[in-house]
């Protein structure tokens, strides 16, 4: 859909006519909310509603959304003959917090040159805090591992518990920060409790204290600190808050369902004086709640109760075929009206705004219904499921090279099974028909590979292997395909070359290449061009690490998305280097290589974030979480069993570890902390009954998994393939389909 042909639907028109005040928009998937938002911005500017000293602040969740919205607003404004970049500003919530702190770091109580400890590849601080804790409390820490754990499983149990400890720390820290509690405050609150606390919560508090210390010593802030300190800065100087409030005369918030309560505090403070705050989101797609501390409740229930809030729907969507829309709506209606756990009904999906297909005159008509558009299949076991899903998807793209297709798994582990299945199914000589986007996308891996090889050359400039690897990485990047391991003649030459003579020809003119091997003129030219580039990087190798990476990136990358990845890797590298004085080029190269080989995750929350666009004829293999914001013609939703998508708060859950006697430390600590905080707010004694609290946690989990399912269903344009495996494997018993969709299987 181009900007020029876009005409607003009546619902969109009503929103674009917004002229101020509090507004909530519930937007269904595919309803064109970004475009509507852009139209709204253009309208406000055109109608002169923005005071001259102010601007419109558009806040969204991801960097790619920032680019997307900006491009659209710019397009609309230029079309109207106005300056493209004046009068508005698009940022992520973290970007906004950064901006506020940068403005007055003294008010935020931080160094002006603070560095970010983000969640990108190789976050070090948290594991370091855990190591520190374990080194001091080893026996205590081990005592949590269930006594009946067989000796041979102990290693596995310890490993699992170590991972859980990290997760526990992450969750407790995040939650405490969202309460704006420092580790000292948390400690004091916990010590004041009369009832016995979960040992996991106390452990989490100890980890928080150490984590805080590590960050402070390095002058770093993590993402949650950004938000906390931005609120602090606004609270510490009322005149400062007022000035920013005047500057951001209108606040438009996209993806509002994913904002955390504390993030909302920022926007609420900024809009306090003028009250111009429009929030657009889909409460049914809030799937970040257990990752971030977002709470869909605020957007769904509390915000609309504020006086004067107008509520408008964006319910028309041209994305999916009517049958798929009907399934999504049915899911919402069942969840709200008939879920067996009463508490889930109000928390999971809302049927208030159901999806409606477009009408006849709409430029974006829904794809037509076709027979068998939705199929539900039960496979005997996981392996069969993976294999058959891979076969089906492959068949689909072979026959429909112009259509897009994705297999979405709830876990990376199962996604990997599908990838493995593809390996055996491709015919000899057949082009690659799938892309593995489970951990790092091909784009991320290729960029990391180029940077890793270039840094390796800097670290060991005398190795011929280094130049040859660099050359292969550059080629893979140019082809947009995985690196080819095979050596050609130039590689052979590079391997036998005296590379230092290639990089830095000596005045004596000593020959760099062995005399006996024949070499052609074009080969020589290629080698010399490559050497010149590499020599520059070797000269640059005394630069700070992030600056070295940027120099390399801008010498090698041209694509926007690739540069964005490189910039993000550079930020990660700077942080690592600041943390670890002996960290040098070889370590950097090794870490980038891990990312390139998918051993280490370079985190992006969604594929959309890394600039991904589905390609026709190529199957996207990824997870449900990462699929947010994207659409494919045919979508495979896998593992739709009652284990992955539970409905019974009294049943055993996935996160609950066998080696801990079925306990889920992070959940236990989180729920208890929330109860303590709520009780403190309400001036009562907390009810710390472990069972009740655990149950409450499970209810949240059930609700979030339902929303995840909803996101999955609404990714499909034409066809949906739903599946699960009836055997859980490794003798762990039988599976039943997720209750929400169970009738699809039983009716068959």
């Amino acid at each position: 859909m181009t900007v020029q042909t876009f005409r607003l639907r009546p619902e969109q028109e009503a929103i674009a006519a917004y002229a101020g005040g509090l507004l909530r928009v519930s937007a269904v998937p595919g309803s064109g909310k970004t475009q509507t938002l852009a139209a709204l911005v253009a309208r406000l500017l055109k109608d002169g509603r923005v005071p001259p000293e102010g601007e419109i602040l558009i806040v969204t969740f991801t960097n790619s959304a920032v680019d997307n919205i900006r491009a659209r607003v710019r397009g609309l404004l230029t079309e109207q003959g106005a300056l493209g970049d004046v009068g508005y500003r698009v940022v992520t919530l973290h970007g906004l917090a950064y901006l506020i702190i940068r403005e007055r770091p003294d008010l935020a109580g931080t160094d002006p040159d603070f560095a970010m400890d983000d969640e990108g590849g190789g976050q070090q601080t948290l594991p370091e805090a855990v190591r520190w804790y374990r080194a001091r409390n080893d026996a205590y820490w081990r005592s949590f591992i269930a006594n009946d754990t067989a000796a041979r499983s102990r290693d596995k149990a310890e490993k699992g518990w170590a991972n859980d400890t990290e997760k526990l720390a992450r969750d407790v820290i995040r939650q405490a920060k969202n309460l704006r509690w420092s580790s000292a405050r948390l400690k004091a609150v916990l010590e004041a409790q009369r009832e016995p606390l979960s040992p996991f919560l106390t452990m989490g508090a100890a980890l928080y204290a150490r984590y805080e210390e590590l960050l402070r010593d390095a002058g770093r802030l993590d993402f949650d600190d950004l938000i906390v300190r931005a609120v602090l800065a606004l609270d510490n100087d009322e005149a400062f808050r007022q000035r920013l409030g005047r500057r951001f005369a209108f606040i438009l918030e996209d993806e509002a369902q994913d904002s955390t309560p504390l993030q909302e505090e920022i926007l609420s403070r900024l809009s306090r004086d003028h009250g111009n705050w429009a929030r657009v989101g889909d409460p049914n797609q809030a799937i970040m709640t257990t990752f971030t501390a977002s709470s869909v409740r605020f957007f769904r229930e509390e915000f609309p109760r504020r006086p004067g809030v107008r509520d408008l729907p964006l319910s028309v969507s041209g994305r999916s075929a009517p049958a798929i829309i009907a399934l999504a709506n049915r899911l919402a209606a069942w969840s709200e009206g008939a879920h067996p756990e009463i508490e889930v009904r109000a928390r999971a999906l809302s049927a208030q705004t159901l999806i409606r297909p477009t009408d006849e005159n709409d430029p974006q008509r829904n794809p037509p219904d076709q027979p068998g558009a939705i199929q539900a299949i039960a496979f005997p076991d996981e392996e069969t499921q993976a294999k058959r899903v891979a076969e089906g998807a492959l068949e689909y793209v072979r026959q429909n090279p112009d259509r897009t297709c994705a297999t979405l798994a709830p876990t990376n582990r199962f996604g990997q099974l599908i990838v493995d299945a593809f390996e055996g199914l491709l015919k000899p000589g057949e082009p690659t028909r799938y892309e593995d986007h489970l951990n790092n996308s091909v784009g991320v891996r290729n960029v990391a590979d180029v940077l890793a090889s270039a840094v390796a050359v800097c670290a060991s400039p005398q190795r011929g292997q280094g130049l040859s690897d660099l050359r292969k990485a550059l080629r893979a990047l140019a082809d947009g395909a995985p690196r080819k391991p095979k050596n050609d003649h130039v590689d052979t030459l590079l391997h036998s070359a005296l590379v230092e003579r290639l990089l830095f020809p000596s005045p004596l003119g000593e020959p760099p290449l062995p005399g006996k091997v024949p070499v052609t003129e074009p080969e020589l030219r290629e080698i010399s061009a490559l050497s010149r580039r590499a020599a520059k990087w070797v000269r640059a190798s005394a630069l700070p690490i992030d600056q070295l990476l940027l120099t390399i990136a801008h010498d090698t990358l041209t694509e926007e998305a690739d540069l964005a990845i490189a910039h993000s890797l550079a930020v990660t590298a700077r942080r690592e280097a600041a943390q670890n004085p002996v960290w040098d080029l070889p370590q950097l190269s090794a870490q980038l290589t891990d990312i390139a080989r998918n051993k280490q995750r370079y985190l992006s929350r969604s594929l959309l974030e890394s600039g991904f666009v589905p390609r026709p004829g190529i199957i996207t293999v990824t997870t449900l979480h990462k699929a947010k914001g994207l659409e494919w013609d045919r979508v495979y939703l896998t593992c739709l069993d009652a284990n992955e998508f539970p409905h019974d708060a009294d049943a055993q859950f996935r996160g609950e570890a066998w080696y801990l006697g079925g306990r889920d430390p992070a959940l236990e600590a989180r729920v208890q902390l929330e109860e303590i905080a709520t009780a403190l707010r309400e001036g009562r004694e907390p009810a710390l009954d472990a069972r009740a609290l655990a149950r409450a946690g499970r209810i949240e989990y059930i609700a979030e998994r339902l929303r995840l399912l909803y996101v999955g269903v609404t990714r499909a344009r034409r066809e949906l393939r739903l599946s699960y495996a009836s055997e859980r494997g490794q003798g762990r018993g039988r599976n039943v389909p997720a209750l929400a969709l169970a009738d699809l299987w039983s009716n068959r």
Partner: protein
Amino acid sequence: MKRYEVGHAGAGKTTRLANQLVAWLEAGVRPDRILVLTASRAAAKTFRAALAAAPPPGASAARQVRGEPTIGTFYSLTRNHVGVFFPLIAGPAGFGDVRREPIFLDIEVAQYLMARLVAPQLAAFADLNLPRPRLLGQLLDNAHKSALAGFPLDEIATRLGSAWAGDDARLKVYRRAQDMAGTFRAFCLAHNLLDFSLQHEVFARYLLPEAAYARFIADRYRHVLVDNVEEMPPIAHDFVARLLPTCEDAVLVEDDPGGYRLFLGADPASARALRAQCDGVETLARPYEQRPLAGFGQRLAGAVGATPVRRDTRDEALRDGRVTLLNPRGKYWVSMVRAVADAIIGEVERGTPPAEIAVVAPYVEDVLRFELEEALRERGIGVRAVRPSRPLIDHPVTRACVTFARLGYPSLAPAVSADVREHELARALSVAIDGLDLARAKVIADVSRHASSERLVPVSDPKMWERVGVRFRERVDAIAAWLEAARAVPADDDLPPLDVWWQLLFGQVLSQPGFGLAADREAANVVDKLVRSARLFREAVQDSGITARGQLPADYLALITEGVMAAQFVPEGARDVDDATSVLLAPVYTYLTGEHRSRVQLWLDVNATGWYDRLYQALTHPYTLTRHWGAVLARPGVRATWTEADETLARQDMLRRVVIGLCDRCDGRLYLASSQLGLKGQEEAGELARALQRTL
């Protein structure tokens, strides 16, 4: 006759001052009766150069040959005089041992001592996200500001509190900060140590009021020239105010706009108070048509903080090519730097001499210098970076010295030398040996570390030498042999201290022909700085009882490896030599406070908030720790607060001064370069960018 002259940059004031200096000499004034006070060491150089270029004494009959004029900064003057008059004031000022020589500290040592002293109390600052060196730096800065403005240390907390509108907890933190400044002061007094703040405090409170000193300066400084008086702190103005009634002639010169050293204690308002003591105030200006960008500068300054107007026409300067936008739609920072390099090449091709081109940016990062150097090298254009003082360790020569110390200095633990990685050794060798590139150095380092993980041993691998070039063998062997001999020193008594050790290494090896530091003035400067810093550290710390003697070398290495941020107060380092084939690269404030003008200026990162932000530090404040603010606080009945509105006005005022000051120093064309994202990937739209939007 006492004159006060004020004018814009480039109006010819400094030239007039230099001419005045020469004229006095011509007229027979005794040279040693002349004082020339400058705001920077660079400016002092200008006057020395004028002196050197003046006709020799014989040429003019009246000219006398007695002594030399005193030319220097206020800092060098106070240091000199406090040193000379120390016996006179040590007792009253409360120093522990009045018969012993005082030791003047540099910032590294001051931070080290501060760290040792306050380590147990740092928990008081737990709510602030400040890395330790920054925290310590701010604690010291408060003392500096108190000394330069002339208020007691125990006003720090109240003054800081007067700019705080938030949570009361911060007020307690200010109190602790004040206490720590006091603890440090007491320690310095007890051990005859003078840090930057105590040097100035002692000067202002004990030396200046001393009758003997008053007689001395009245006799000595009969003819006084003060350049850039607006860039000096109030206690310097106090000093000048003492001189004015007694001296015969004086010329005081003020740049307007100025006050760019606000964060170093500069106080234009207190400078202006000196006008009353002069016989007249003269305003100087160059004709408007000789200042091609002055009009643009005024318009741009006028747009700072103004309500935006939608413009129908583009600014005339943009239309007629005096102002050009670079990379205006570009997203990335590196692309901006490359566009800047292209613009420079274009200018040089059109005949602008490189030395007439200046790149100014809010921050000068290493990569900026590197990228420009790489892009310009092929065209034979160099880059001359002028930067304010930076951590010693940032220089490759320092790093090489540290590496060699780790490999060869005897009293360090063996683990220290075993921890030197091949890569580090390769870097050190390539710095130490002339013509040795990193790739060949790495080959040598690999073989050497393989042969011994604890030492640098001579390598006898003929194949390797054939590969990298036998010409390097002798040099590597020489370094190895020197280190080996150094390690062999047996008794503790014969062991030269680290500073002497480095001096020997430099003198006996690294500065010899064929080695990397031979005939390299910059390198020699760096080594000199390192040696002096290490010596000072040893002298200041060894008798203070705060650290065991044997621990000193290791502590010193750790200290500089940590990269202590040289504080803003440290006098600027020696500048690189002027070079006709190089473009200048400087941070905005360094450019403005140095003696610079250019035919072409390129402003980098015009979107960056760095053009507008002052350094917001949680524990110190540039406006409330001033003399002026003391007067505000003293007003009866009003509770003075530095508010957000004051802050905004002050920032806007400073940005206006920066914009006009830069344009006044540009004689031809101006390029404005920007990128959507900054170097660290952040998106910024600072006040300068907004003002530009309104102007262009």
